[in-house]
Amino acid sequence: MEHWLELDGLGLTEGDVRIVENVTLKIGCSSTAILGPNGAGKSTLLRLMHGLLHSSAGRIAWPRPLRQAMVFQRPIMLRATVLANIEYGLRLRGHPSAEQRRRALAALDRVGLPELALRQARRCSGGEQQRIALARAWALEPQVLFLDEPTASLDPASSREVERIIHEIVAAGTKIVMTTHNLGQARRLAEEVVYLEGGRLLEQTPVADFFTLPQTLAARDFIREEVG
């Protein structure tokens, strides 16, 4: 499989704390889940990949440039309508306004919220806002979508809906890299698992193998504790 993202000895140190340490990794599949306990550096690694943080060591290589977008754990909306929030990203990328409107409406349709177009985004529920955030990212037609704990602050029904949307985004050909606490979610959405602990990469394993035959003891303990 052709790799579309390569990390080589990637590290991030803040003060004396090594948040991410010497991560070397090639990502080639279409959906990757980053797993690990709290404080493992999952979100930081995701931000380094997306370019929101700058590494203090190593390098990131994109063999060919890919359009990226990211969805965060907590959706952040501007004080404007839902439609305006989705159009904003398109406007930043210089799309003409008619196309902004068309794409934003289509994205809103795909996340199942066309009736919210003219509502104030910050007045929508948390679950709705996360779906709007997905629409905002999707409207940009990213080739890679980063998702940071996309369902961590949602109720089960909203989580299911968000998973359905992520599934569709993958089916439509967008590659995803997501962090999650939810092992079931990783199993449902990901092809491979990247397991981190203490900022270090412990293993990168196809998802089926990870849950049945994790390569490291740490990962086995993690799965046992999470499953309970």
Binding site: R47, H50, L52, A69, M70, F72, I76, L78, R79, A80, Y88, G89, L92, R93, Q120, A121, R122, R123, R136, L140
Partner: protein
């Protein structure tokens, strides 16, 4: 005490009668301070925004400077603007000294740092919340600053108001650069100062009461507006 009561009664009469001299003074006060506040917002809000989202050498120094300038003594600002506008000064040939324009300039100098410093605080909070999302969407810092100014528009009404409150209530700059000329540059605060020193309390008290009423009314309106906006926009 009786003097005060009598003066207040006289003041109320002046207001009730719609005394032309009184109304002219109030109108000029509002005109000067509203104009100065508008200029200050126009200058200070972008400055505040750049100070919060920008990344450049000297940013911290500027923040400390603007915070400090929030407490500029009006008489000193008046003095400096006086020197700039006086005949011998660099802007003397425009003949602006002792005109309402000079008062607007002086109050703008006084209020701009207040608007800039308060805006910086507001936008810094916005930036903390929106930073990652805006950068992920591809917004440059400058663009993000513009977006956040618009996003914080309701909080910034309070900022503008704080600036207006400072402008309408100060006496030092308008006294020095305006000269308190009857019918030309006399505003509420300079009239209060003059009439009090002359011992003519009714006019001073009437103006004082009106000044307070105006400030209260504008603040109340802004508060109501902000509440309404927050319910509407979240």
């Amino acid at each position: 005490m009786q003097d005060v009561a009598a003066s207040l009664a006289l003041g109320a009469q002046l207001v009730a009668a719609g005394d032309a001299r009184l109304l002219a003074i109030i109108a000029l006060s509002l005109e000067v301070s509203v104009t100065a506040t508008l200029f200050s917002c126009f200058l200070g809000m972008p400055i505040g925004s750049v100070l919060s989202v920008g990344r450049f050498a000297g940013r911290r120094t500027l923040i400390v400077l603007f915070n400090g300038f929030m407490g500029l003594p009006p008489v000193v600002v008046g003095l400096i603007v006086y020197l700039l506008l006086s005949r011998a000064g660099p802007l003397g040939r425009f003949g602006l000294l002792f005109t309402p324009t000079a008062m607007v300039i002086a109050q703008t100098v006084l209020v701009t740092p207040i608007i800039a410093a308060l805006t910086r605080q507001v936008i810094e909070g916005e930036w903390r919340e929106h930073r990652e999302q805006l950068r992920s969407l591809g917004a440059s810092r400058l663009r993000a600053g513009r977006t956040l100014l618009w996003n914080a528009r309701f909080s910034l009404t309070t900022t503008a108001l704080a600036g207006f409150g400072r402008a309408i209530a100060e006496v030092g700059t308008v006294m020095i650069v305006g000269g308190n000329i009857d019918g030309v540059t006399r505003v509420m605060t300079t009239t209060i100062a003059l009439e009090t020193s002359k011992g003519d309390l009714p006019l001073a008290l009437a103006l004082g009461a009106i000044l307070i009423a105006i400030v209260l009314a504008i603040n109340a309106a802004a508060y109501a507006f902000k509440q309404w906006a927050e319910r509407r926009w979240g």
